[in-house]
């Protein structure tokens, strides 16, 4: 499968990349790990005239903590996130999520910035960044801005990024004691993407749910927060029956997708079951 002809350029700084994007407008595409962009180029669903490879810009792949925030560079690969000791200790939801993305080759090349910018509704990171109330830091011609995760995903394959804007980093909170997190996923047997993926951040105390945040991907045209479930759980006991009753609202108010593998009915059902399981798992970890 051969993509249409294109020019390739590898800028060495974010400014240079932004200038190129400004200059070439719609005809240019950013390339990070290439694991979403190249497949669609090979199918000729995308035919950019210019590919701007940001993969050689130094300093965009770090993972560091400052205060109660951990900053992840846009070019951090899924593998780097999965293996990061800092994240495993202080924000284990992201390594757990990264560990079930695609296969080893995909995790070695794909980046967190690329995954978020691509905004595939079946990708795994979106649910997690929603549940974590992460911030996406973008830089464009007008300077740097911070986009809350809940404002970031607009619709299928569309984000709040402006045309010449780049994601430079993602900021997530340090997860404290008493809070458990979990990501569970039903993977499509062919693509490996999430048919349903549920990310939970849950603060528990005395067997009840103090606060929880649930991000779901794979189910709707974009990842979303399951606010009906969150509300139904707040202050409630974390026993299986209560959680199951709350989780039954996992797909409330969303337009559930159907395809050859899973109809919208079945997907909605899976969303409830996986939400229940993710909440119970997170609760069990909230020690």
């Amino acid at each position: 499968m051969i993509p249409a002809a294109f020019e390739y350029v590898a800028p060495t700084s974010v400014q240079e990349a932004i200038a190129l994007l400004q200059q070439h407008g719609d005809e240019a595409k950013v390339l990070a790990g290439g694991h979403s962009l190249l497949p669609i180029m090979k199918f000729r669903l995308a035919q950019p005239k210019l590919v701007v490879d940001i993969g050689r810009i130094p300093g965009l792949d770090g993972i560091a903590r400052s205060g109660d925030t951990i900053t992840i560079g846009a070019l951090a690969t899924h593998d780097a996130v999965e293996r990061s000791g800092l994240l495993r200790e202080h924000c284990p939801l992201l390594p757990e999520t990264a560990s079930v993305i695609g296969d080893m080759q995909v995790r070695n090349r794909g980046t967190i910035g690329g995954s978020l910018a691509h905004a595939d509704p079946a990708a795994d990171y979106p649910g997690a960044v929603l549940a974590l109330d992460a911030e996406i830091v973008a830089r464009g011609p007008g300077g740097t801005r911070t986009i809350p995760a809940r404002d970031f995903f607009v619709e299928m394959l569309t984000t709040a990024l402006q045309p010449a804007e780049l994601i430079t980093e993602v900021r997530v909170p340090v997860i404290g004691k008493g809070t458990g997190t979990a990501y569970v996923k039903h993977a499509h047997p062919a693509s490996g993407y999430a048919v349903v993926g549920v990310a939970v951040v849950l603060e528990a105390g005395g067997g009840t749910c103090r606060r929880c945040a649930i991000g779901i991907n794979g189910v709707a045209g974009k990842a979303y927060r399951a606010t009906a479930v969150e509300r139904a759980l707040a202050g409630r006991a974390l026993d299986e029956k209560t959680v199951a009753a709350a989780a039954a609202h996992a797909a409330d108010g969303v337009d559930v997708q159907g395809d050859l593998y899973a109809s919208s009915d079945f997907r909605a059902h899976l969303a409830s079951v996986y939400t229940k399981r993710a909440v119970l798992l997170a609760a069990s970890r909230a020690g």
């Binding site: 499968m1 497949p39 296969d103 047997p189 693509s191 899973a262 079945f266």
Partner: protein, 787 residues
């Protein structure tokens, strides 16, 4: 290597180092001076009239050398032939033009070819070929296509019927009448879904025509170069002796590289027309659209039995979807290789079975690993479980009761085949033991844990392998022989080259064949080279498919090696001044019985054979021999598989917990290679049961058009397989071997489905069609729970 006995040793595959270090040379790795690249323009419509083709813009594109359409080829190339003309079936063989001329009949049908100086230009220019289509109504499923009012695909095949074939044995009518009176009849409709073969290497063709000598050389991904040479000659009109076909490294085939496709003829035409070598390599999407698919049967089946579980008859009808054109072997797969195996390993005296081959607007269907036999095994093995459930018997007991007893071999079935040898009960008992069948049944009795239901599934199978006796091939309409050739040539230095007419492409026969020769001639295994896949160095051969390579090709090699040994014995006796009958040949050394110290090595004898200074009277110089082995019968491997699953009733997800395969493939030359073949087969067979399935929209668009939609199995989806063996040599094969390339695929699919249905028994579910996706299972549980 401290191996004293080579035959039977788990020697590592000698082909692996080059394969896993990227040092193997595949067709697409080859580059010839002046080579151009072809891209085939394919129809986006499943069924349409071609109104106009405008290639002007494509011809102007930089780098484009030529563009040809179906019309340009019509005079120069003959239609693509079908090579399995089954008799007594009213077979219709509508013409299959190399590129469509007036009508396209499936999405992927070739309409034009663009040749350019590089593959990128060819790909870009292909998009510039403007084809105006007038879409016609399409039909994709075989029952609709065979029904009234369906769109007609070929004028030559009214009602879209390619053939109507039947097999009868005994008196099925009487058996069913009796069963209806005082026995049981179970009936079920089965869908054996369409599969995409997914060889790791897609198809590739490189053709060079030398206009000076008139020679055509084609490197390409074929499983049978000599058949390809013959068909290439028929289609292009180039004399067979001027054609050389080379199969370099071939990255798997699973049957999909048996057919002679239009594409190879088109590429050969292009090379001749433009006077430059031309290469074409299929991309994965094209592979899904235009390489053959497999299976795709719909069957209505009935089984008659006594109340004690004795099966007395089987009858039914299958609609086989053949796609838009008859691929090379297509008519024989759902008939000869399928219908005749319907009784399986059971002594079922009465049989009546009909198969209708139906044209549809889909990719052609042909042999895919197991080719007809997995479909047959699936039917009979599901039926045995349905019968057991109906009678409240243990599925193992029903099988034991109906096995052909060991003392009745050779056994002639109701379908007329003669099974060479078999001993089915020990294989079953061994498999049950390895799976801890009794213990699992009692665990199952205790009911589900955490809403997860345990299921145990059996599959006991027999398959037809080692294709096959040429006279039978002729009788069933196969347009070729099925014997095999071998030449074993010793060189003056005592090293050997072995030439085989089979064409291994991943199975490991470079290793097993060397083991055979090492055993027969006492040579170090590393001194033996195995050459295959080149019509320029191998006189004739019929290729690799139907688990025939070791059974037929290996036997030919053993016979040739024995001839070499006979001649060497004569020379050795002369040199040792002894009578031939007094000589002992042991591990490469000839000596007079009782005096092993005065020996001549096979290497010494070989050198003398070439020097020819002192040969016995009447013995010619050199040391090589050929053999042409035509088997007297097929071989019939068998075995018993057990699958253990857990079904999550909340999600419908199936977890495969344990898989036990006990196979009997006769004598085993290399246990590690046999295990490898079994593992690969299991993976493909299990994947059919659980995940794989090609789907077309009603308009004929392939919905599973990439690996993101079509579930090719991966290693992490499986438990560690438990394999075991019994060994019942084939009585008629010179090596006692039976073939093992397809057993895993044949046996495993019903084992899995039986296990899942067994798990769902508490819900009253008796059957589910494949693939057993979570949604299918969940929906079945839900609808049954509601009742």
């Amino acid at each position: 290597m401290a191996v004293t006995k080579l035959f039977g040793a788990s020697i590592k595959r000698r082909e692996d180092p080059r394969l896993i270090t990227g040092m193997a040379t595949y067709t697409d790795d080859l580059t010839l001076p002046g080579m151009a690249y072809a891209q085939i323009v394919r129809s986006p419509h499943a069924h349409a009239r071609i109104v106009r083709i405008d290639a002007a813009a494509a011809r102007r594109h930089p780098g484009v050398v030529a563009v040809f359409t179906g019309r340009d080829l019509a005079g120069a190339l003959k239609p693509i032939p079908t090579a399995w003309l089954i008799p007594n079936a009213d077979l219709k063989t509508p013409p299959h033009p190399p590129l469509a001329v007036d009508t396209v009949r499936y999405a992927g049908d070739g309409v034009a070819v663009v040749v350019a100086t590089d593959r990128y230009a060819a790909r870009d220019a292909a998009q510039l070929v403007e084809v105006t289509y007038e879409p016609l109504p399409a039909v994709v499923d075989q029952i609709t296509a065979a029904g009234p009012g369906a769109p007609q695909i070929h004028a030559e095949a009214p009602g879209n019927l390619a053939f109507r074939w039947a097999v009868q044995g005994g008196d099925a009518g009487a058996a069913f009448a009796e069963a209806q009176r005082d026995g049981v009849v179970v009936s079920q409709r089965f869908v054996n879904q369409r599969l995409i073969p997914n060889a790791i290497e897609t198809r590739s063709v490189l053709a060079r025509y030398n206009s000076g000598s008139g020679e055509l050389t084609v490197w390409y991904t074929t499983q049978n170069p000599h058949i390809a040479r013959f068909l290439m000659s028929v289609v292009t009109g180039i004399p067979e002796q001027k054609i050389r076909i080379i199969a370099p490294e071939v990255g798997g085939g699973f049957g999909s590289k048996i057919p002679f496709y239009p594409d190879e003829a088109v590429v050969a035409f292009c090379a001749r027309a433009i006077g430059r070598p031309v290469k074409w390599t299929e991309d994965r999407r094209e592979n899904y659209l235009a390489t053959i698919h497999g299976r795709d049967h719909i069957t209505d089946l009935e089984l008659a039995a006594r109340t004690d579980g004795t099966v007395t008859g089987i009858r039914g009808k299958t609609w086989a979807n053949l796609g838009a054109y008859l691929s090379t072997a297509a008519p024989g797969i759902p008939t000869i290789l399928h219908g005749l195996m319907l009784p399986g390993c059971y002594a079922i005296p009465n049989l009546s079975y009909e198969v209708q081959g139906v044209f549809t607007n889909t990719a052609p269907v042909d042999a895919y690993r197991g080719a007809g036999r997995p479909e047959a095994t699936y039917l009979i093995e599901r039926m045995m479980d349905l019968l057991a459930a109906r009678l409240g018997m243990d599925p193992a007991e029903v099988r034991r009761k109906n096995f052909i007893p060991p003392d009745r071999f050779p056994y002639t079935t109701a379908a007329g085949l003669q099974y060479d040898s078999g001993n089915y009960t020990p294989a079953l008992e061994r498999a049950l033991e390895a799976a801890e069948y009794r213990r699992l049944r009692s665990v199952q009795q205790q009911g589900p844990k955490d809403n997860r239901y345990l299921g145990i599934g059996l599959s006991t199978y027999v398959e037809i392998c080692g294709l096959g006796p040429s006279a039978v091939a002729g009788a069933v309409g196969f347009q070729g022989g099925l014997w095999e050739s071998a030449t074993v040539r010793l060189h003056p230095t005592g090293k050997a080259t072995v030439f085989t007419g089979t064409s291994p492409h991943g199975q490991g026969e470079e290793t097993t064949f060397a083991q055979i020769v090492a055993e027969e001639l006492g040579l170090p295994i590393d001194d033996i080279e195995v050459v295959h896949g080149d019509t320029g160095s191998i006189s004739m051969g019929w290729g690799t498919y139907g688990s025939r390579t070791t059974v037929v090709g290996g036997a030919a090699i053993a016979l040739a090696a024995r001839r070499v040994r006979d001649k060497a014995t004569k020379i050795a006796a002369h040199l040792l001044e002894a009578a031939e009958s007094d000589l002992v040949f042991d591990r490469g050394r000839f000596y007079v019985r009782g005096s092993p110290d005065r020996a001549k090595s096979i290497q010494d004898v070989t050198l003398q054979a070439y020097l020819a200074w002192n040969l016995p009277a009447g013995v010619e110089p050199s040391l090589e021999a050929s053999a042409y082995y035509d088997p007297s019968n097929f071989t019939f491997p068998f075995g018993a598989h057990v699958a253990v699953v857990k079904v999550d009733a909340e999600t419908g997800e199936v977890e495969l917990r344990r898989y036990v395969a006990v196979d009997d493939c006769g004598r085993v030359i290399n246990p590690m290679i046999v295990d490898g073949q079994v593992h690969g087969g299991l993976v493909q067979g299990i994947a059919q049961a659980l995940w794989e399935g090609a789907a077309y929209s009603a308009e004929g668009q392939l919905l599973t058009g990439s690996m993101a939609d079509y579930a090719v199995p991966r290693a992490h989806m499986f438990p560690r397989f438990v394999t075991g063996r019994t060994e019942t040599p084939s009585p008629h094969n010179p090596l006692g071997v039976k073939g093992v390339g397809e057993t895993g695929t044949i046996a495993s699919t019903p084992a899995i489905v039986n296990a899942v249905v067994d798990a769902l028994r508490p819900f009253g579910i008796t059957h589910l069609d494949m693939p057993l996706t979570p949604e299918r299972v969940w929906t079945a549980i839900r609808t049954h729970a509601r009742r």
